[in-house]
Symmetry: C2
Subunit: 288 residues, 2 copies
């Protein structure tokens, strides 16, 4: 059974990830002015020296934009974009199809890189839009190239990040193809809860969700009307509730059980060097 049994499992995860005990983050590194969430995330999963972290932090501080809700970070069909990194707020990435159909392919939360592959894509066919007033750091390709040159360890960290992003997209694929509406919605909600938790956005049992129902529907491959009915079901089953723009998580394990949600694919507790013997050198650019 892939089902998580009880709330404690996830809470334990969160304690480990959010509130401190990072295995190799000892007192030696008080870090730069304020380490962006991305830096902390990468460091948590992949070995980076203090110098690497400072370098990345600096690079991320050069071009920061506070952007308003519903503004765009990149249009389909345009030239290759700068790389965007979420500092605050949520965003999503979507494809438009003929007939006005829209499908989200990813949500981006603070600390996420917006579609790393976009950097080497000649003409992206996706658009990225901000879902709530957000702050974003942007990196030009030149900046990324320089970073990788000066901080080879970042290459492996980015491979790790790309793998997790890819793994999430694969989960969505399976979710869309083989689960019914209720499972689908519950699954996405579980994922958002877990991801929000690791970046400290979960406030007790409630979460500010800056999505319209249409945004959720387009992620779940449903019509807004049907998504609304599904949400009502989940409400009536006592799994969730809504107040203001917040989702109240009444029965997290029930939600996970309904969706067959298992957070392994999010890679929350992975350590890049611990898991596999040779990986440490795998995509490391420098010989040795």
């Amino acid at each position: 059974m892939l089902v998580i049994r009880a709330r404690e499992t996830l809470v334990a995860t969160s304690v480990n990830l959010v509130s401190g005990h990072m295995p190799h983050m000892t007192a030696d590194a008080p870090a730069a002015p304020r380490e962006p969430l991305l830096v902390r995330k990468l460091y948590r999963h992949s070995p980076l020296s203090h110098r690497d972290r400072v370098g990345l932090t600096r690079a991320l501080s050069l071009d920061i934009r506070s952007v308003r809700t519903r503004s765009t970070l990149g249009e389909a069909g345009a030239a290759p974009r700068k790389l965007a990194v979420m500092l605050e707020g949520w965003a999503c990435c979507y494809r438009l199809l003929p007939g006005g159909r829209r499908q989200l392919v990813a949500y981006y939360l603070p600390g996420d890189i917006c579609d790393l592959h976009t950097l080497i894509t000649p003409r992206p066919d996706t658009s990225i839009v901000l879902l709530a007033g957000a702050r974003v750091a942007r990196l030009s390709r030149e900046a990324v190239a320089a970073l990788l040159r000066n901080h080879p360890a970042l290459s492996r960290a980015l491979w790790w990040d790309a793998r997790i992003a890819s793994s999430i997209e694969r989960e969505w694929l399976v979710n869309l193809a083989r689960r019914d509406a209720r499972e689908r919605v519950a699954h996405i909600l579980c994922e958002l809860i877990a991801r929000a938790e690791t970046v400290g956005e979960l406030d007790g049992d409630s979460l500010a969700v800056p999505l319209m129902q249409a945004d959720l529907a387009d992620a779940c491959g449903l019509t807004p009307a049907h998504l609304n009915r599904v949400l009502r079901l989940l409400r009536e089953q006592g799994l969730i509730a809504w107040r203001d723009r917040r989702m109240l998580i009444l029965d997290r394990s029930g939600l996970a059980e309904l969706a067959y949600f298992s957070p392994a694919y999010l890679g929350l507790d992975e350590r890049a060097d611990a898991q596999t013997g040779c990986e440490a050198t795998l995509f490391s650019p420098m010989p040795g």
Copy 2:
């Protein structure tokens, strides 16, 4: 409109990719004993020296297995796998869900790497199975690490390959979520045709498809019964036909039009260094 207008478009592509005119593949490199399709594909899209190609070719020749149909290349939940590279035959990668549901997430054709990310995944949740008697080259993690150490240019080539694989999976996601059964099936068929063409598996207007209908159904997120009905529709519309185990492509542009198929996401005519100025050094491991 994303629709391709006429057959000529695709045929032109194929001439460029298959039968020779590779921009930087001049007479200087007669290549090793027999360059595997993977090497040719990477070289076509990403600059590799003669030495790089020979090195990769050698590495791919060390552990070759001829495996019989329906045998497995890796089970879900097992330890991280060796990296498998398709030499001949087709394979697929799938997820199993509770209730006996199965969903394919990728087809692998000759020249494809089977789930590159699997190499750094602690416990893959997917299984890979061969669809037709196939030959596969396997690389241990150590072998990959050594390759990357000795041939830094491979790192960029693999980034490219991972991006395309990821782009295909994204297309599947959208396909499953937002197209109806007919479009979905037509789309996957178009993709298989295009990919088979670039590796020389397309014989005029027919293609040997080593799939059972259940394999197609599980890729399209349909039941075998309904997939069967959809195939009949496509047959009745004069788009395709079947003889022996071969698909006859009667109206390729009609099929593409029905599916809104645009092959851009396959990256067939991309050149890694041509498209974007700085990419040449982007993920290149060596300084400079």
